[in-house]
Symmetry: none
Subunit: 210 residues, 4 copies
DNA sequence: TATGAATGAGCATTCATTCAT
DNA sequence: CATGAATGAATGCTCATTCAT
């Protein structure tokens, strides 16, 4: 097998084609159903060529999964340009969150499947979750410090639960055909999220408690 | 193949052993990894016997899935003995909801996987979701009618989202090792749920709106 | 895989057919060249059936080798009916020795090849050699005790060398086409062997030494 | 492919490196296990370069085998400086014989293996044996003519057998781990050889016969 | 000459399913 | 009803060889 760092331009092109083909194939047919042959055909290379770049189907999937996870990280960052209004920031975050998960729903679920068997993939999966959980927890903590959210909530557990709500909805929405338009969905998710953490326009938590 | 209704006592015992063995095997190793051989060995019957009762591996899984779904329905019904306090009822429902999904998390996810390929399983999966969604929506609608919850919320979509929060947490908690004890989890899920729907002790919604 | 002891009569027949077919195939084409398919075709069973009885090609070869080694042991025992005349006994032994190795020359050489890689086969190979070496050494020691052979010879090393002469000749004769008829070969091998150990009609060694 | 005679200095170096690498690889891992890739890596050239110099793996092996055979011829010639004492000459020859075979035991056995399939290699193998057999036969014939060895022995067949004894011992000694030090081994081989051909200090054969 | 990417025939192995007993 | 031997399509992977650069 040729390692990634030792590639010529031509090799890189072929390798990229295989990763792209693999990603499409996995997304369309599911991990188990994908044949190395399918991937090769899609990438326009012969069967043997696959093994010039990857040791196995698992290795390819690892590569695909890593790419997906990387994209999700990048795509879900709420830019600094978003207004300081906490509610608006939550809404923006939820929109990106929903989109990021929706775009990769099937592959992420596949990653979960595969992670059961493959040690290396488990790490990737946990890293993925951790990044999203931490972001959510950080955001909540900040609001708590500003007196805008219920200070009694455990930030991490709350982030896990509310993040899960968004993530799960992405799946139900796109994979299971639950009917809703994005605007409505994001608005409702945001309303539920904001209310759940007790987001207040003023700093009422400092006086009252739960 | 012998159909279920034409079984002798002995046949029923063998068949039940296969279903039980299949359920355990699927839960432990995942759909694809399970060999008919494994199931037969577990059930203590010979390889050929399997086909006396089932047409295929899929057929067995369908049977297992149906059993699981049935159990989940039964197990998650909030008994009439629970006090009328809405918050307490939500908490009781969430506890049962969480337990029901946690107990069968892997099999349900397997069902989702398999449903991608198998038409018949898709129906089962949708039925499963629908029952839970409908229950949640009914509950919310009742609270709205009583003026105890935000009447502006779409009952179904809200139920999908908040139900998803619980369902997803069951998965994260049990399959992915997120650390939490049941009491804490149920309490937080309930608090978030209640706040999200704007559950009020009094009937404040009638005067205010969102 | 079905273990040997759990076979029905039918299974035993199939298994035996595979071993026989494998033996023929190995003998004709050499280890590496033999395809599982060839063996199956020869045995008149389908490809998959092979794996009902053997885990791999190596496993089959192990079985074949063990059978060959067993036969060689049996076939090379000089019966008790052979006259006590030491020279005649050596000749009889050499004849059987030559025949035993000649009959299985290719398979034994294959075993040597394969033993390089397979730990389990190495044991079999060493056992095979050891039996023949020990027999030769015992015979020599007896003659030495009777004063009929040079007592200065190390029995084991001498047996290794002279046994090797016969074994090697079997190979050269049959595999490499060295021309000779069996009678001539056995007579010459015996003459060389007898002279080499200083076999004397009388008990001259007791008086002389080397 | 570039033929040997048309090489530049650089080409010769690369080619030699491949032959040397191939010899080491064959000796260590056996014919079938050697990958062209291994050889190239060892020689420090890229995969494609191999085919600049050789048509195939077999061609490389042929080259290696020829080199080995050449060395064995050279290394085993008893120099003219060795004293005329026949026993001492036999001992010297056996020492060189043993060393020559021991040094190349694995490669020679590989050649025998390969010769089964490759016509061209068969010639090489037969040539190798023939040289050693002829030398042994010549030596014996000379001794017979001088009345120092049993004139009744067929020189060629005797040489095949006794030569085989030495050759085989080299294999058993080095490849199969039979324990012996060289001095002891050579002395015993020589004693057995000398006695077997009836080597006498005086010219007793002229009067007696066997 | 050297390189290394591409090729594809070839092969071992798995496993759901069938069927004779 | 139960058994377990037989089936064979399906598929991942290897590696000698070719060839464009």
């Amino acid at each position: 097998m040729i390692v990634k760092s030792e590639l010529t331009a031509r090799g890189r092109r072929t390798r990229d084609a295989l990763v792209r083909a693999g990603r499409d194939a996995f997304d369309e047919h599911g991990y188990e159903s994908v044949r190395i042959d399918d991937v090769c055909a899609r990438a326009g290379v012969s069967h043997g060529t696959f093994y010039t770049y990857f040791d196995s189907k698992e290795a390819l999937f690892g590569e695909v999964a890593a790419a997906v996870v990387g994209e999700m990280f990048t795509a879900s960052v709420v830019g600094p340009g978003v207004p300081g209004d906490p509610y608006a920031r939550i809404e923006a975050a939820n929109r990106l969150y929903l989109r990021a998960w929706a775009a990769n729903s099937r592959l992420v679920r596949m990653l979960e499947q595969a992670a059961t068997a493959e040690e290396s993939l488990r790490g990737l999966l946990l890293e993925l979750r951790e990044v999203f959980v931490r972001r959510g927890a950080e955001g909540l903590r900040r609001l708590q410090e500003q007196g805008l959210a219920d200070p009694a909530l455990d930030p991490r557990l709350t982030a896990v639960m509310l993040g899960g709500m968004v993530e799960h909805f992405a799946h139900v929405w796109l994979d299971l055909g639950e009917r809703a338009d994005e605007r409505t969905a994001v608005e409702l998710l945001t309303k539920l999220w904001a209310r759940a953490i007790g987001l207040t326009p003023a700093s009422s938590w400092q006086q009252e408690g739960v």
